[in-house]
Amino acid sequence: MASYLPLLLSAVFAVAAPVSARRLPPHLATWLLSAGGLVAAAASSASLGLLALDALAQNPLLAARGQWSGAVLRQHAPFAVPIGVLATVAVGVLAARFLHTAGRRLAAMVDAHRLAAALPGAGNELSVLDSGDRQAFAVPGRPGRIAVTTGLLRSLDGAQRRALLAHERSHLRHGHHLHHTACQLAVAVNPLLRRLPAAVELATERWADEDAAAASSRDTVAGALTRAVTGNRLGTPAVVLAAAATGVLERIGALRRPAPRLAWWQLGVPAGLLLATAVAVAVAMRDTEQLFELAERGYLAGQR
């Protein structure tokens, strides 16, 4: 049972964490999703790995090499053979997914660093792009850069421009792209966590909104956001536009309310889940260790 518990608990975390994240102050929500997602992913991977190990170790060749009894393992294994095979295949597939995602993110990071260096206006934090479109984005790099189109700058007043710059600067200063990467890696090894990347994107946008509000006011940020989305020319794919608009509505709603305050249970419930997951992994590891001790004794008894 302990072998499956981490898998089960990570599934509960996958549902609970995004719900908690919507109510938490955004910087805590971000950390909960990214760091928590990595813990849940590590736990489910460990659990699958143990199942695969139990299954592989029953192989007579491996058993002879490792000097344990495959028969004893088979007898005490906490699962039927097909599940062991399934777990072994899953470990292989998920490892490949992890490598693929890690490679993709690394390439994206290198691209971003190149772009940050190549953006016009080198030597300045701000790079202005001469375009009527209303766009703004932060490019991580050394140093990170903020790119804004003239179309967007001209549609905002002084306070809104300051809010916009503070928002993009927040992305760079707090390394929000690393939180995105963490969640994508977590999903790669545990597909149950598939709702995390979208949740962490919203959380980091909200985090940057709160930082922008601290540099101006909540109304200013809400106003700037409204300008940024309403003035966009068509030509952006409809699906992307719709997705962006959904997030923006929620963000504007959050800005219309006072800054969220921390309620401990909102952090406590998912944190407790993670702790239980970690304990379950530890128990599963101990069980496996005991099983192997038993199998080794079985092997020695067979030798006599």
Binding site: P120, G121, A122, G123, N124, E125, L126, V128, D130, I146, V148, T150, L153, R154, L156, D157, G158, A159, R161, R162, L164, L165, A166, R169, A215
Partner: protein, 123 residues
């Protein structure tokens, strides 16, 4: 607003205000455009620094300077070439002499760019 803001972020704010403006701005107009209660002298210092970096151009208007944002190097060079072409005279002749003076690499690059522009439907 007595909030402390970092040097780089103040430069960004001034630059953003200049780009948002229709025409050149004097330091006083920049203070107004920012609307964040920055002192005149602070804005002036930032403008001088941005000018030293080549991020803004300035011209004397009465007793004060008036500032405009500057495109990046490539944009600047293209602007100058466009301005020279627009100055009048025989455009085709100017272009012919220009093309005649290009190195083989530049010629290939130019031909590629023109071909790509045509593909995009922008003659």
């Amino acid at each position: 607003m007595a909030m402390r803001r970092a040097k780089g972020s103040l430069e960004s704010e001034v630059l953003a205000a200049l780009w948002a403006a229709e025409g050149p701005l004097t330091p006083g107009e920049v203070v107004e455009a920012i609307g964040g209660g920055l002192a005149y002298t602070t804005v002036q210092t930032i403008l001088v620094r941005l000018h030293a970096k080549g991020a803004v151009a300035r011209e004397q208007v009465g007793r004060a300077y008036s500032y405009t944002p500057v495109l990046d190097d490539a944009g600047l060079a293209a602007d100058r070439m466009q301005a020279l072409l627009d100055k009048g005279g025989d455009r085709v002749a100017v272009l012919r002499r220009f093309v005649g003076s290009l190195s083989p690499e530049d010629e290939t690059a130019l031909a590629d760019l023109l071909a790509r522009n045509r593909q995009d439907g922008r003659p």
